[in-house]
Symmetry: C3
Subunit: 418 residues, 3 copies
């Protein structure tokens, strides 16, 4: 996963343009993707697909001809979606177009201006402090022109057409944790799924406008979504954070709380700020989509700065995020509601070989407890996850007990969870 982060890092992404295309091409080497191109001007919900932005180069040259700010060194130096410019200006004239982080004077900030046509440069405060009055040659060799918005899907079909949506934004330029780590983890998860029960849809799309475009084009199919996650900031050293869906008690909310139980984590309530859960959880859709990150949105000093580089994300953290997702997938795959076919009194497990024969001992095995719990709760209304939560037993033990009981003809699956 870390190799993919490093490979994707230099690409200059934005909400449209060749950076996104190149990113999807690289992901596509690992995972078959269906790439969608949606023309500029297309109406998508309340929005319109904007013009496509591409950039070749950009610089600020001092009177000596040195590039004091140079797009080739970092694509963060140019405000995203900057209109083209070619001019000679004094520092005073240039100043309103320069963005720095005075509190973090060595770092370059990340700034964009998608929907108001302007241009600008981002640079370290310390570099700005060293600049003389100029005049400076200021060039942004970009184009803003009709084109398309690009996004991609990878679908792992299941036996059921109920879908699990994993969405990650692909619009940020050289920022590793936000969101190359998310892209890498999603890619690894997709590769790991084999003939699942549910259908898994991975969405790689630019933030906000990409999710809105996808929703506009899939409006009638959102009812299939049984659970979803936006995946971002998946690789920093912080503990995992799960942000609940707008509903607060959707299946995915319970699944994530269950699989996070065993590890350091934080669970926070939904808020309409953050990643594309904002769109998936808008009141018209109100989808069961939460958000999984490590340190959340704007919660670390490296956030949206040049310090969010590949060294900031670790293979261990990405592996931990992936493993957590994998456990969530296990629960989603395996959960369901069952009915005890012998609900009056306990069935005699002993004669079916499901119960130890020597009585009177004060210890009892987890497997036997799990069978008793599954039998007791399986009235068609409780799912295996319900049983795991009520009993305090691991989901895996509960699922295995259900298998054993189903094998013995004592249990029947009667439906999906909640």
């Amino acid at each position: 996963m870390h190799a993919l982060v490093e490979r994707l890092f230099p690409v200059c992404r934005s909400i449209t343009g060749d950076g996104v295309r190149r990113t999807l091409e690289i992901v596509g080497e690992r995972l078959p993707l269906t790439v969608h191109e949606v023309p500029t001007g297309t109406q998508v919900l309340d929005w319109t697909v904007p013009r496509e932005w591409n950039i070749r180069d950009a610089w600020i040259k001092n009177p000596a001809g040195d590039r004091v700010v140079d797009f080739r060194r970092s694509n963060l130096h140019v405000v995203g979606y900057s209109a083209p410019v070619s001019a000679t200006m004094t520092l005073a004239e240039l100043r309103p177009h320069l963005h720095t982080l005075p509190g973090q004077p060595d770092l370059v900030p990340y700034r964009t201006s998608y929907y108001a046509e302007t241009w600008g440069f981002c640079l370290a405060q310390r570099v700005l402090d060293g600049l003389g009055e100029g005049p400076y040659e200021v060039v942004i060799d970009s184009t803003l022109a009709d084109g398309a918005l690009t996004y991609a899907e990878h679908v792992v079909p299941g036996r059921s057409d109920k879908e699990v949506l994993i969405s990650c934004h692909v619009c940020h330029p050289s920022l590793a944790n936000d969101n190359l780590a998310g892209i890498a983890v999603a890619t690894a998860l997709a590769a790991r799924l084999e003939r699942p029960r549910l259908t898994y849809r991975f969405l790689f799309a630019p933030g906000t406008i990409g999710a809105i475009t996808w929703l506009a084009r899939n409006r009638d199919r959102t009812g299939r979504i049984k659970a979803g996650l936006t995946l971002a900031c998946a690789g920093d050293r912080g503990a995992l954070t799960y942000k609940r869906s707008r509903r607060g008690d959707a299946g995915i909310d319970r699944v994530m709380a269950h699989v996070l139980r065993g590890r350091p984590h934080t669970i926070v309530d939904f808020s309409p700020y953050g990643y594309d859960e904002r769109q998936f959880c808008s009141p018209g859709f109100d989808l069961p989509v939460g958000s999984l990150t490590r340190t959340p949105y704007a919660g670390y000093p490296e956030y949206h700065t040049s310090a969010d580089d590949p060294g900031f994300v670790t293979p261990e953290a990405m592996a931990d995020t992936l493993e957590t997702l994998w456990q969530a997938v296990q629960v989603l795959e395996r959960d369901g509601r069952y009915e005890n076919l012998s609900p009056y009194g306990e069935p005699q497990l002993g004669r079916r070989g499901l119960y130890g024969s020597l009585g009177g001992r004060s210890d009892t095995k987890q497997a036997q407890l799990a069978m008793l719990w599954v039998l007791n709760q399986s009235d068609g209304g409780h799912s295996l996850l319900d049983v795991a939560e009520r009993s305090g037993l691991p989901f895996q033990a509960v699922a295995e007990a259900a298998d054993a009981l189903e094998g013995a003809g004592l249990l029947k699956r009667v439906g999906e969870s909640g």
Copy 2:
């Protein structure tokens, strides 16, 4: 407000009689009142309007002819509703009619006997301890005769006929916090209301029998009451206390919890003891009426004693009570349920001038957050107060966001709060 407390303090009030009339006259100088007189003997719910009590003078004279207990010094000296008496008695004979507070030997207690015909005096334990055997001249120059029960209303009409009821009891004699401070704060609040949305009804009535009389005469109109408060003990130095309505989750309960959040306060559950919330919250009416006090009922040593004088209530405390009520009025006035008219995905706020144009910054303004919250939650089922509570934003910010969104055609009011 404190001047009104001082002016009202010497009047000898009871549940009927000229003391109540004089009190309403003084309040009426500040606020137009509709005064109601309900004749003795009128059946009101399970009760009957009692005979009217008036008193001119009362004393206990020692053998030297000195008034050792003197109504003219404090009307607390006579048990409220005492029957007339004129007799010469030894201390031993008089003793069963004397009430003191042995634990607070310098204070005169407040006692009444409305519904059992008797008479008595209240005095400081220290004064009692100094009395010789007598004989004493004992005179209560009172009348108990057919007359009327008096109460008053002041109504501030709103555009809606939904009513907010503010009720305060006017039957206690010279006790400043209980309830001249409540009367003063209610009067100030009424004077401050200008062309409100809701209709505000201020009720100045004697405790218990007054509220019961009002309920009996307005039985069919109680359905209009959207929220209400009994207001008492509004001027002591203690923190504010809100006692929930019987329902426990009425609109007023949530409004008061919200406006109290920022200041020291206590919230207690309903109990059928205290002030006239007992009547408003009887199960037949079960009105959404809570009670606002500072230190509550019987919760301070000065309670129902001569120490509850104008020095015990402070202008600052009354101003704080008034300000809290004013904030509650703001929420009641402004709250409502809204519907997001662009509920699929977020509407594009930027092109409507409602959103900052430069992206990527990790700080975001409260006004923008408030708009996102209002849009996300406005599905017709959540009120602005719901949004304020879920988001943790101030109600004011949420209300302003709703205004801005309504102005932009993105939001429509669809109904009252809960």
Copy 3:
């Protein structure tokens, strides 16, 4: 009660056989019992009544002819339901049939093997450690033959056919707390009931198969059960433990929480392990049956060992269990939903002699508070227990207030609780 424990202690009980019959005979001396015999082979729910087990003697004799393990000293020495055996064996051959507690080397464990035909002995680890290679004479003089399963009922008929079920298991041999103490407390409770409102059914039956047999034979009558308890481990020095019914909010759950409030106790959620609540709370029946113990199932080191002897249970602990049950019976007997017949405002209690006449005092009596609470809450939807819980008043005070108000014509019983 302790005398009954001591009398029952030596009897060798199992899930069938003469030990159970003798036990019921002794209980029957104190309480008229209806004894049921259900033949071997009878189908009961998913189970079949097993063969009857009886034992006369059993021993292991060393080469010198000494009984090194002797059934006559303690019936725990033989694994319950052991098949007959008569053999000479070396220690090595015998070893797989010997059960000890290496961590408690002086104690004899309790073991059974009801449903797999085998045989065995239980002994102290220290005794085992002292045994030479043998050969040993090994005899279990038992019979496993067609016969019957025996259980008994004692019913105290009430005015209502709604039933309270008190069930205790009678299948354990010489173990005092588990469950002779439960039998003794149930017997004492039954003897104390006189002409109750509800019908009380006491069930003395072997664990699991006994409860299952009873359920099979009373399947259509379980709808009468309004509340129930399995009673076990009722005499150790630990605090009381109440385990909720499967429902978790059944009437009995609330009653037990209420009566336990005043004493040291623990309340735990339902789990499908423990005593016969496992059967009563199987999903097909889902009866409102909880479990009352002192230290619960497997929660004390003496559990299922020879240390659970009559010295381990105390008269004080059994009296405390009985008293708690008695209080629960009081609530079950007395609880109900009432309707305030004068629900508009407070009725005038004073003219009905139900209220102190002197007003203004800051203390008020519990009896008056209880009347105000009952009046306020009696809208047909709240029971007296609801009132006790919401008000924090003792149930007894609330019930007495209801009596007084009913006597004054202000209150009418409208139904059972919950």
